[in-house]
């Protein structure tokens, strides 16, 4: 390590200790204030370590990043173990283990078949073994088969049939804006947000937009002539869609930053209430 690295490490350590002491003092009315002060300081240190990446990649960022990977993997393992293995498997396969884990035993004459996912699960772990990795294809095949079987029906119903059916919207008046003739339509023509014209325009855009969007995604025919016009309209609709998504993405990312800065200013520094 370079001399400058030692200096940076020393300064950061000093700030850490100072923050811990000050935070503990400010939380003196709370039980376990020293521990709370330490935990809040650790949180702030990790937050700032990640933010330090904005300047450039550095050991503090790498530390935080590596810690995240390790803690995260163990977190999911523990949640999975307690919630599903202890919560759903053990009550079906072992009375004594159910007693040990204090979960209500669910006896059943054919419960022995619940060992099948255990065997498949263990075969999945064969992927880590130097030999016999091919056995992990069996549980993988089960996962793929289940996902395919479940998704086939659900996507067909909700994302295809229902979506296509919702696209057939009234193009001349609907329940709230009844069509009463061309004369009425033009005499009441208005650009008010809840006017008939705006509502109908929205329905036209939906109807034309969905079909032209699908035309754009259809690559088995050259995009020329009428088909080309449809495809062109399709890409315009998609561009507006992506623009809207970009706007929302910006909004989402800013919210996350607000969340973190709120933590730093309120919980750590106590600058805001």
């Amino acid at each position: 390590m370079k001399r400058s690295s030692y200096i940076v490490l020393g300064v950061v350590s000093a700030i850490f200790v100072l923050s811990w002491v000050m935070k503990s003092m400010s939380l003196s009315e709370v039980d376990d204030s020293i521990m709370q002060g330490f935990l809040l300081t650790v949180s702030a240190f990790l937050t700032l370590s990640i933010f330090s990446f904005l300047y450039k990649d550095n050991p503090f960022y790498k530390f935080a990043e590596h810690l995240f990977v390790g803690v995260s993997a163990a977190f999911w393992m523990c949640q999975g173990f307690w919630s599903t293995l202890v919560g759903n498997l053990i009550p079906r396969v072992s009375e004594s283990l159910s007693g040990f884990f204090m979960v209500p035993y669910q006896p059943g004459s054919f419960n022995f078949h619940y060992w099948i996912p255990v065997i498949l699960g263990l075969l999945l772990l064969m992927r880590l073994a130097p030999k016999g990795g091919w056995l992990s294809r069996w549980p993988l095949a089960f996962i793929v088969g289940t996902t395919a079987g479940l998704n086939f029906i659900k996507y067909l119903r909700s994302d295809f049939i229902d979506q296509v059916s919702s696209t057939f919207v009234p193009l001349l008046g609907d329940e709230t804006n009844k069509w009463t003739g061309v004369g009425d339509f033009f005499s009441n023509l208005s650009l008010s947000a809840d006017s008939q014209f705006v509502a109908l325009l929205a329905n036209w855009v939906i109807f034309v937009g969905v079909f032209s969007g699908l035309v754009y995604f259809f690559f088995s025919k050259e995009h020329k002539g009428v088909f080309g016009v449809g495809s062109r309209v399709g890409i315009w609709i998609l561009m507006i869609t992506f623009g809207a998504s970009f706007g929302y993405t910006v909004m989402g990312r800013i919210s996350l930053l607000v969340g973190r800065l709120t933590f730093l200013f309120r919980d750590w520094l106590g600058l805001i209430s």
Binding site: L46, F63, Q79, A141, L191, I206, V210, A244, F246, V250
Partner: protein
């Protein structure tokens, strides 16, 4: 054997799950297979953890670049694992939730995992801003449309949009930015997203069929694995 068994498993499970929708007595089999799936999913978490251990222990042993940080990963992993599996500091008995308030597991989640993950994603706010400045250009008609839509949404989703265009009379109120933003979301955005959803839906349906019928086999890898 190496290919036939997995293909048969996929076919049987996939077919049963599809048929169970049409044959009510088979619905119990549907639920049982799905429960198997949920249990195997936990073993997938174990596989992830095991793989992480293997990679980082190898990195340590071979003294690869940045091997020191592998100690951090392994320590974090083992501490969290111990805290969770042994329910260290859990206020209740063994049946109490692993993440009960006050447990070491929940404390590490609140003060380590939570700030790490949320800050990691909040970095994107800075990169989005930088991209807006450097790359978001009205280079052609399509890009201009994208830009205008984004602009209206950005403005319309804040109170500033109404402040700026609130003076527009009621008979033209669709031109008020918040109303225009709402209209874009409910109309062109809906149309575009629906076209994408239908496209993806068709893709999922055809891919599911290919997998169940054994036409698509890439998930099996090669025979040397």
């Amino acid at each position: 054997m190496r290919r036939f068994v997995p293909l048969a498993i996929t076919f049987i499970v996939g077919t049963v799950l599809i048929l169970s929708v049409f044959i009510p007595p088979a619905q119990d089999l549907n639920r049982t297979f799905t429960l198997y799936f949920d249990i195997i999913a936990v073993f997938a978490f174990f596989l992830g953890g095991g793989n992480l251990l293997r990679v980082h222990i190898n990195k340590l042993r071979m003294k690869k670049r940045d091997w020191q940080f592998s100690i951090v990963t392994l320590s974090g992993f083992l501490i969290m694992l111990a805290a969770g599996l042994f329910k260290i500091g859990n206020p209740g008995d063994i049946a109490t939730a692993v993440d009960a308030e006050g447990s070491m597991f929940q404390t590490v989640f609140n003060y380590v995992l939570n700030p790490l993950q949320s800050t990691m994603y909040s970095l994107l706010a800075f990169f989005v801003a930088s991209a807006s400045y450097r790359a978001f250009r009205a280079k052609n008609r399509e890009a201009t449309l994208l830009l205008i839509a984004a602009f209206i949404i950005l403005l319309g989703r804040t109170p500033f949009g109404l402040m700026l265009t609130g003076w527009i009379p009621e008979s033209f109120s669709i031109l008020q930015v918040p109303n225009l933003a709402m209209w874009i979301m409910n109309s062109p955005n809906l149309a575009g997203q629906r076209a994408i959803i239908i496209g993806i839906g068709l893709g999922v349906i055809s891919m599911s069929l290919r997998l169940i019928l054994g036409v698509e086999r890439s998930y099996l890898g090669d025979d040397n694995a």
